[in-house]
Amino acid sequence: MPEEKRKPEEGESVEGFLASFLPDLLKLLAKYEEIELEDVELHAKKLAFELLPVIPAAPPVPAAPPVAKPTELLREGFEPPVMTYPGRVEEVKIGATRSEGGSRGKTYVIGGEMNPPYYIFERPPPHRPIISMDVFDTKVPLPRAVKMHIKDVIDDPGEWAKRNVEKFGADMIVVHLLSMDPLIEDKAPKDALKTIEEVLQAVDVPVVVGGCGDPEKDAEAFKIASDMFSGERLIMSSVTLDMADKGVLDETAKAIAQHGHIALAFTPIDLNLARELNRKLYGHVARDSIIMDLTSAALGYGSEYSYTIMERARLAALMGDKELQHPIMACSANTWAAREAWIKEAEIGEIWGPRELRGPMYETVAALVYLLAGADWLMVEHPATTRTLKEFIDILMKKGAAKPETIAGWVSAKLG
């Protein structure tokens, strides 16, 4: 019976997403299978010479039975190993509605955890983690697998932001003002900030002001932005110890606090530095307005350091370390720096599959790992990662949804 072709449901599932956003998928797969078959023939010949005879001489005689073999099940119970934690992560409210002094239609609260990530047998996390997606104000080299979904809006930050929110389901937009970078356009902060205005007009979700990495210019931009968008509860990404070295941290922090915004505090994979920066901020910024960026390495390029530092930070916070009791931001978008994510099949080897799948899979793996380490906010580049995260966050918030009968017979079920 021919069925009506199923329409991919917007915002519903990974399935709908991949079907609608990876148009080249089937073509790529067809190509992939051809190659597989060629290889198989080759190998079949080779195999003939490599057969290993492993037939044993005779089965052993089963050992003599032990003295007191149980004849029925020895019943044991199980108590969930619930623990209590003296510490709690701060809650941070992101974005402000009109009645709160901003202009956002959507706002979020993140943090507030009282136990390790998704240990639902103790208690569920108080809030869902949020997902932001990027907009750049200059032309940046983007991997093909990412670019194919946004190439028609890449010169229009407002439209790009809309695409991220409306089509991909982003909760928040990060606008990277790379044009301020002295090595790129060296734009004046006040000019660059026009893009923030544009994005705030285009979407009603909270917005993150992303700097260019130059501490002095970023500090200047955050100060101006704080005043310009007073009351919006924007996030300034990011304040650093470099700013302290250049003597511009205090005034920046003051401006952020005075206008009710949030500081994203970046430190390089080092909890002592994270504490140090937070201490410097406490003089100016309220505890409920600090989020930590502990550095997110690309998958395979130091991701274990990032994973462990996030996990340690969260466990220390729960154990009562007040200087680490802040929500954590993790950036899976950085994983596109890993060459395995973007390199062509022809170069890495056909066996590793089309980069249109390999790339988003790479980013998704990094994102899931950081999610389990305790990230409250994930910075994502690829729409498939956003969609998958939403699906798995929904799953991770559930308790008691397992149906044992569905897998009781997995051993003898035909898969595929």
């Binding site: 089963p62 390029y301 729960l318 397992a402």
Partner: protein, 485 residues
């Protein structure tokens, strides 16, 4: 939350039971040094030959008990390719380090044609990737009885055993069918999957009779899992592995929670009945949802989605303590990120993944050879080295000590600064080796160029962001045009 994961052991406590002869046979100068290594789990008791002598039997047993991991190590397979699962001392990686990377088994079933089984095993062996000078690969084959036919299962198991010397997992809940196949491969010491509340007695007979490790399957019921472990132990089965059930879809949260509860009970609460390796089965992502006919296109798309979900489940299970995974997908884009993450999370956090800093020469450098800069993070270094070697480039590579951080992280974290580059340049003596004064820095360190020029007097050329573009960069930009300023 209380206590750390690893039993906190003082070297002094261990030293008490050592021979105290400082014989040096373990490779350490003193028994105290050996005790320190034991406490850090960097040495094994068996490395002390004295301890194995009868007069130290009691001391040995005492030390064994003190040092044994709360999660037992279970070995299956034979010969050179054995699979070690479990052997975990801690719940969290930073408490010590994780031992025995998650073993990944790929499933085949006895309704597959022989050619399909061959194809799958061949592909499994081909999925090998060189990463930081190490080979990443999959580890084992799980043969499932889907036919319900004893002879068919036996034929499939025999075929697989002939095709590969990898460790095997035999998956069949019917003890008679299991034994029929097991008699032909028991010397390979396969993991038997699995004992359940219904077949535990017969499975225990097989495990003890053929001396094979046994999996215990109790989906969603940790109390039953404990009951089965207790019973099987009383029956004389020592080597067990636990499968609390991997649930696809919404139930996956319960799966992860069961893994967490079991590992915590073993590592933090001393629950000996749960101190066994954990088995995750991401292959359940492929269980048919049944129902409607699908077009070929839809079927293909669905395969991608199932593989995608399986990968997500696998990586989360590895992160949440799985010691053995049984998977279906052999797609490279599924397995590569999984193998990379497994390698990462199992590296020892006590040791930076770094190479020796300093000046390296490639090919036959002369006085007009380019000088490139990179960091001493092992992965960065080996990637750059590989790109230079495969393009057969003559050059000097200045490896700066960034405490094992990659370029991106090192620049952000001030572990790669103009001062460090200037110092490294000076110490390297490359100034005497080349006549020119051009330094090529990584594209991701572009922002340091001005300061490096000021400090060194060398002209900086900003190289590519990824070292794969070095050959192209050099062919276009080297030798540099003299009057560029």
């Amino acid at each position: 939350m209380s206590g750390s994961g690893a039993k906190e052991l003082s070297p002094i406590e261990i030293y008490k039971y050592l021979p105290k002869t400082n014989c040096g046979k373990c490779g350490e100068k003193t028994c105290m040094a050996f005790a320190t290594k034991l406490a850090n789990r960097e040495a094994r008791l068996e490395e002390c030959p004295e301890l194995l002598k009868p007069e130290y039997k009691e001391a040995y047993e005492k030390l064994w008990e003190m040092l044994r991991p709360p999660v037992r190590e279970v070995v299956f397979g034979s010969g050179e390719r054995v699979a070690k699962i479990g052997g975990k001392y801690v719940m969290y990686r930073h408490e010590l380090t994780y031992h025995n990377p998650t073993v990944i088994a790929i499933e085949v079933d006895d309704t597959m044609e022989l050619s399909e089984i061959e194809e799958r095993i061949k592909r499994l062996e081909e999925l090998s990737y060189i990463y930081i000078g190490r080979e990443l690969k999959l580890d084992a084959v799980a043969v499932r009885c889907v036919s319900g036919d004893a002879e068919r299962f036996k034929a499939a198991v025999e075929a697989v055993a002939k095709l590969t010397d990898m460790p095997l997992v035999l998956c069949c809940l019917d003890p008679e069918i299991m034994e029929n196949a097991l008699v032909t491969v028991y010397e390979r010491r396969p993991l038997l999957y699995a004992a359940t509340k219904d077949n535990w007695r017969e499975m225990a007979e097989l495990a003890t009779g053929y001396k094979c490790p046994l999996a215990v399957f109790a989906p969603g019921d940790i109390a039953l899992l404990r009951s089965l472990v207790k019973t099987l132990r009383a029956y004389g089965v020592e080597d067990l592995a636990l499968d609390p059930g991997t649930f696809p879809g919404e139930g996956f949260s319960d799966t992860l929670n069961n893994f967490v509860m079991i590992r915590r009970a073993a590592c933090k609460m001393g629950d000996d009945l749960l101190g066994y390796p954990l088995i995750g089965v991401p292959a359940v992502a492929w269980l048919s949802e049944g129902g409607k006919e699908k077009s070929k296109e839809e079927e293909e798309a669905e395969k991608v989605l199932k593989a995608w979900r399986e990968a997500c489940m696998a990586v989360m299970l590895i992160t949440r303590f799985a010691d053995l995974l049984i998977m279906h997908s052999l797609e490279g884009w599924v397995q590569l990120p999984i193998m990379i993450w497994r390698e990462n999370i199992y590296t020892d956090p006590r040791k930076p993944v770094a190479v020796e800093p300093g000046l390296k020469a490639f090919g036959t450098p002369d006085e007009m050879t380019p000088v490139l800069v990179t960091t001493n993070y092992a992965l960065t270094y080996f990637t750059v080295e590989n790109d230079i070697k495969s393009a057969k480039i003559d050059c000097y590579l200045l490896v700066v000590d960034t405490e094992g951080l990659s370029v991106q992280s090192a620049v952000a974290g001030r572990k790669l600064t103009a001062e460090l580059v200037a110092d490294a340049l000076k110490e390297s003596g490359v100034e005497e080796k080349v006549k020119h004064r051009y330094l090529i820095i990584p594209g991701l360190a572009a922002r340091l160029s001005g300061e490096i020029e000021e400090l060194t007097g060398w002209k900086v050329l900003v190289g590519p962001q990824d070292s794969s573009a070095i050959p192209k960069f050099l062919s276009e930009k080297w030798p540099p045009k003299e009057q560029e300023e």
